[in-house]
């Protein structure tokens, strides 16, 4: 279990964070760029000593300025997956994974055998001899994960693990990462600015804004009662639950079927849908969007330059559109509308 009270000043930012991650828990530290997420992660890893506070892992004090206690990064039982993975470019995938074992004094042959087992487990047996440069983004991420896990850490830190990937591979790698994270039993802390990553990967969200935690809770709580404008925007994501009804078809509890772009990860799936991805029409749309349904507006709420429109019907969701569109469609509570969404905008993951 990680217990971290972090106070540290970086440039103009003053970071004050009180954070706990339980054994077996996945916590996402979610916030906009510059909020101090990466600084918090670096402090926990020991790459940035804290000015004040106390960092403790499984009862061992790692950093406590008041008692001049500081455990060096290399002596902390913490694995880190860095933002762009930072695989050593001159070492093969295998030697990257074996690096931490060698650092702990394991004989070369032994370390390599162990590293090979990790690669096998993560489906990377084929690329053991490859240099990082020739790996795909998803492969590189898994090698980085294997490298971090091979040292048998008590805490796994992931810094924007999906940010370096392009949109196409991201969806698939996110599902993979979720599966692999599930096999690790220590505490896991994930830093991200992407609410979809957070919702898909984390058990609990911690929202960090401008160096302070503004909200913490399970995704449903945060979604239901966002404590700040940022949180509202961030987690205003529609979460839908359903079951597989075909290779790329999900049947929701209401019986409505939605078509998604990629093969489903399992029989029971959750779908994340951004409010901005929902288009509203007066009449039934014809043409490309395969997913469309009739709905009734239950609430219209202006939010600065955007308007959030809550829809009742077969797909309970909130759409976010421009004030101009609201005027054109003449939307008020009770207005019947047609909603549509493209298959690629439906992010699925295993429940």
């Amino acid at each position: 279990m990680l217990s971290a009270v972090i106070e540290v000043a970086v440039g103009n930012l003053r970071l004050e964070v009180d954070l706990e991650v339980d054994e077996g828990e996945v916590v996402a530290l979610l916030g906009p760029n510059g909020a101090g997420k990466t600084t918090a992660l670096r402090a926990i890893a020991g790459l940035r000593p804290i000015d004040d506070g106390r960092i403790e892992l499984d009862g061992c004090v790692l950093d406590h300025p008041a008692t001049a206690t500081f455990v060096a990064t290399s002596r902390r039982p913490i694995g880190v997956v860095f933002q762009d993975y930072l695989l050593f470019p001159r070492l093969s995938a295998l030697d990257n994974v074996a690096f931490g074992l060698r650092a702990r004094g394991r004989p070369r042959a032994d370390a390599r055998a162990e590293a090979q087992r990790w690669l096998d487990r993560l489906g990377l047996a084929d690329v053991a001899g490859a240099r990082p440069r020739s790996l795909s983004g998803g492969q590189a991420q898994r090698v980085a994960l294997a490298r971090a896990l091979a040292t048998d850490p008590r805490l796994l830190l992931l810094d924007e693990p999906l940010a370096a990937l392009d949109a196409g591979t991201r969806l698939w790698v996110r599902t993979e990462l979720r599966r692999h994270l599930a096999t690790f039993d220590g505490a896991r802390l994930l830093v991200t600015h992407d609410p979809v990553d957070a919702l898909v990967l984390a058990d609990r969200l911690v929202i960090l804004e401008d160096g302070r935690i503004t909200q913490t809770g399970v995704p449903a709580e945060v979604t239901a009662r966002p404590a700040s404008r940022y949180a509202a925007q961030l987690v205003g994501i529609n979460l839908l639950h359903g079951v597989a009804a075909g290779e790329r078809t999900v049947r929701l509890g209401t019986g409505t079927e939605l078509t998604v772009a990629d093969p489903l990860p399992g029989p029971e799936v959750a779908i994340a849908l951004r409010p901005q991805a929902i288009a509203l029409h007066r009449h039934r749309p014809d043409g490309s969007p395969r997913n469309s349904w009739a709905a009734t507006v239950s609430e219209v709420e202006a939010d600065r330059d955007r308007v959030r429109v809550t829809l009742a019907g077969p797909v309970p969701a909130t759409a976010e559109i421009t004030p101009a569109a609201v005027a054109e469609l003449d939307l008020v509570a009770g207005t019947p509308v047609w909603a549509s969404v493209k298959a690629v905008d439906l992010t699925t993951y295993q429940r």
Partner: protein, 270 residues
């Protein structure tokens, strides 16, 4: 696996902007013409004979040995210095960086005289050492190495420091999170990452040491087989026999090319 993005066909090499090509050609010509002129004056028929003279073989051997020794010593202390300059902050860092480049601007003869005042028999440090142990740097092979190192090491330090600055220090962080000790991080991560700049710096350092004249003659003197390097032999040959001097220069050029070309291909070029 999946096809990687960005496989759009691209021209094999960049098209030069306006004037760049002619200016680059001018640069090449400016360096090449004097060498062509030198080759034109070369006594090709006597070349083999000139190379076999003991004075030449002695000087060549000494030049190679001392240039490699100076490069080795520069690597030993220069890489750590470059690391300290690139990765740490301490008062006087700028002054240290300026100091380390001084030998590059100092006339080598003055550098040699400064070495004498420091490490000579009557020197600030050399005096007490000579009194205590009888060890003397001037007029010995070590003196040549010392002079070469003084003049050539800055090239290594400046190059490696630039390389370390350009390298991503987060790889060192990554190694630390994997449990690597500071020593292991330095040798397994920092040094391999800086390898291209270390090789480039070592090449510059070696080449400068091989051609070093002023500081060597001033500090170490000139004695065949002990302190007479190729540049000294060339200079003295010029006193009596210009053709012999040109022949010796060609030998020096050929040997340095033989050492540098494979390195360039392997480490610095593509």
């Amino acid at each position: 696996m999946k096809p990687r993005v960005g496989q759009r066909r691209r021209p094999r090499s960049a098209r030069a902007p306006w004037l760049i090509g002619p200016l680059a050609a001018l640069a090449v010509a400016y360096i090449a013409v004097p060498f062509v002129a030198l080759l034109q004056r070369a006594p090709w028929t006597n070349l083999g004979e000139a190379v076999r003279q003991p004075v030449v073989t002695d000087a060549l051997r000494l030049s190679l040995v001392t240039a490699f020794a100076a490069t080795g010593f520069s690597l030993l202390v220069g890489i750590p210095l470059a690391w300290v300059l690139a990765r740490t902050r301490f008062p006087g860092r700028s002054a240290t960086r300026a100091l380390i480049t001084l030998p590059m601007v100092l006339p080598p003869v003055v550098g040699g005289a400064a070495l004498l005042f420091a490490f000579g028999r009557q020197g600030m440090l050399g005096g007490p050492v000579a009194t205590a142990t009888g060890f003397l740097l001037p007029f010995s092979v070590w003196g040549v190495v010392a002079a070469n190192t003084f003049v050539a090491m800055p090239f290594l330090v400046v190059t490696v420091e630039a390389g370390l600055r350009a390298a991503d220090a987060r790889y060192e962080d990554a190694a630390a999170t994997l449990g690597a000790s500071r020593g292991m991080i330095f040798w397994r991560v920092t040094v391999p990452h800086a390898a291209p700049s270390i090789i480039a710096g070592a090449v510059l350092c070696w080449a400068r040491a091989l051609g070093e004249f002023g500081a060597t003659v001033t500090f170490a003197g000139n004695l065949q087989g002990r302190t007479q390097t190729m540049p000294l032999a060339v200079f003295l040959a010029l006193e009596t026999d210009r053709e012999a001097a040109i022949a010796l220069s060609l030998v020096l050029i050929a040997v340095s090319l033989a050492v540098l070309l494979p390195l360039r291909d392997r480490w610095l070029g593509t």
